[in-house]
């Protein structure tokens, strides 16, 4: 328990410092974990408690992504937006996958790395847009919707990664029945549910917390990927009282995610197999692939390369789902790779966004037109 206490206290100081300096806190949590944990000073140890809390971070993240999924939303935005999501997926997943294969990872590990490659941190990206005052531009709208589509695709990728072992027919059957059960259940108790959520005591919170934990337990009992019931639960409950559910879920998700990030760093035995060169190469590719995908999307939606670069740089930082994926499904070398890639890209991404204008004016002075 003292590991947890130390970790939380340290993370609190880090996030306060990060806000003061306007830098994203996520890489700081991971770095702090790396320094304090098994690969560094050995001040903290991962244990079942911290990994359980970290896991809660993932399930609340999945649930809160589910809350944002209103099927009609995507269709209303038009096919070009869905197309950009697919461009993002193809460019990044493939580049990450093949780069990892080339560096010697197994196909499964390479797929995990590829998925991490694909996942931009919505938290860092949105925070950068607000901080750099970009919300007026149409590119920012594209970026925000792209984050949402990425979440949807990411859930699918998590599902693929976690569903490795089962017989596909049986698995599909189980998934379909889980989905149907949840949809019917929520529809059945919809009205009393809305009434409970309107209460101003702690019952709505208890209800939400229990529902999320139960969904996760249900998934484990049936041996179905957790992403399925959690996302479906989120999507169906979103139609009851979205604002209340978002208000209740956010603190649990945010606090447990901090624990996830820190102990992710703390429990990675920095694998000696992973060379500095490999990390550097992957991170460089990570930056290039997002900018590249961004340019393609920019040309498709805004008919401009410059818009594309803007979209690209705001999606460089990798994040929450990548860490969660690596923490739960990755081997030591995969975790090492993902952790370092997340740290490097989130710092690089936020610096490039903040000083982008200066870089651009320096570049245009250097290359007079």
């Amino acid at each position: 328990m003292d590991s947890l206490a130390f970790a939380l206290f340290l993370c609190l100081i880090l996030v306060l410092a990060a806000r003061k300096l306007s830098i994203p806190p996520i890489p700081l949590y991971i770095v702090a974990g790396l320094i304090a944990g098994v690969s560094g000073l050995r001040l903290v140890q991962g244990d079942t408690i911290s990994s359980y809390f970290g896991h809660l971070g993932l399930i609340f993240l999945l649930f809160s992504s589910g809350l944002e999924m209103k099927p009609g939303r995507f269709l209303a935005q038009g096919s070009r937006l869905i197309l950009s999501g697919l461009i993002d997926l193809n460019v990044n997943l493939l580049l990450g996958f093949f780069a990892a294969l080339a560096l010697g990872f197994s196909p499964f590990d390479a797929f995990v790395i590829g998925s991490a490659f694909f996942d931009t941190s919505s938290a860092i990206s949105l925070a950068s847009l607000i901080e750099n005052r970009r919300l007026l531009s149409s590119e920012s709208e594209t970026i925000i919707w792209l984050m949402l589509i990425e979440d949807l695709i990411m859930v699918f990728l998590i599902f693929l990664v976690s569903a490795e072992m089962e017989n596909p027919a049986l698995l599909t059957l189980k998934i379909v029945s889980v989905v149907v059960m949840i949809v019917l259940l929520v529809r059945l108790i919809r009205d009393p549910l809305i009434n409970v959520l309107k209460r101003d005591d702690y019952i709505p919170t208890l209800l939400t917390f229990s529902a999320v934990i139960c969904a996760s337990a249900f998934a484990m009992a049936l041996n179905v990927p957790e992403a399925v019931p959690l996302i479906i639960l989120g999507a169906t409950l979103a139609r009851t009282d979205l604002a209340t559910l978002q208000r209740i879920t956010a603190p649990f998700r945010d606090v447990f995610l901090v624990i996830l990030f820190f102990f992710f760093g703390a429990t990675i035995p920095l694998s000696a197999e992973v060379s500095l060169f490999a990390v550097g190469a992957i991170s460089l590719f990570a930056i290039i692939s997002k900018v590249g995908a961004g340019v393609l999307i920019g040309r498709l939606l805004h008919h401009s390369n410059q818009s594309g670069v803007e979209i690209g740089i705001y999606t460089i930082a990798r994040g929450e789902f990548a860490v969660a994926l690596a923490a739960i499904y990755g081997s030591a070398s995969v975790s090492t790779m993902v952790a370092l890639m997340v740290i490097i890209t989130s710092i690089a991404g936020s610096l490039i966004c903040r000083y982008g204008d200066r870089l651009r004016s320096m570049a245009s002075r250097g290359f007079p037109q």
């Binding site: 939303r73 919505s122 949105l126 847009l129 607000i130 005052r133 919300l135 007026l136 925000i144």
Partner: protein, 161 residues
């Protein structure tokens, strides 16, 4: 003049206005409760941004609609920007023992002060536009409308303050 309202999932909602002059004004209501006001001058690249609390946003809103409202504890003054001389004051007063049992007609509120009683709140029940036959009880809260002089006259003549 073009305007649009856009949902920004995960962030909030944005209302954009392209003015006839060529400037762009946008208000962003963030899910966190804070608001941002963006101003992009015609021909410029980077907008200016102000962060507003909900209270500040409401204040700017009421200023921009032309009805300037100042609120105090017992009174509200309303001025319309097109009619700057017209200032309407709405004031609340507590009825004490000296008003108990008397009715509006007897007290001749309008004749003697010029102010009008538009509502009375009594223990959770509200009476809007009470008739002259309405009798006060101790503890009633009276809502009056009038100019400053009229309200002062009411305070002097009727309430006895």
């Amino acid at each position: 003049m073009g305007e649009r309202s856009v949902e920004l999932p995960g962030l909030g909602t944005k209302f954009e206005l392209d003015t006839d002059h060529g400037d762009k004004v946008a208000v962003i209501f963030l899910n966190t409760g804070k608001n941002q006001l963006y101003l992009l001058e015609k021909g410029r690249d980077t907008p200016a941004v102000a962060n507003l609390t909900p209270a500040e946003a409401r204040r700017m809103g009421s200023v921009l609609t032309g009805a300037v409202i100042e609120a105090e504890k017992e009174a509200v003054e309303i001025a319309f920007s097109a009619l700057s001389d017209l200032r309407i004051r709405v004031h609340t007063y507590l009825a004490r023992k000296n008003l108990a049992g008397k009715c509006i007609g007897d007290l001749q509120v309008r004749t003697r002060s010029g102010a009008t009683i538009i509502a009375v709140a009594r223990k959770g029940r509200n009476f809007i536009s009470p008739p002259p036959s309405f009798a006060f009880e101790e503890g009633d809260i009276l809502v009056l409308i009038g100019e400053r002089d009229q309200l002062s006259a009411f305070e002097r003549e009727i309430l006895g303050i």
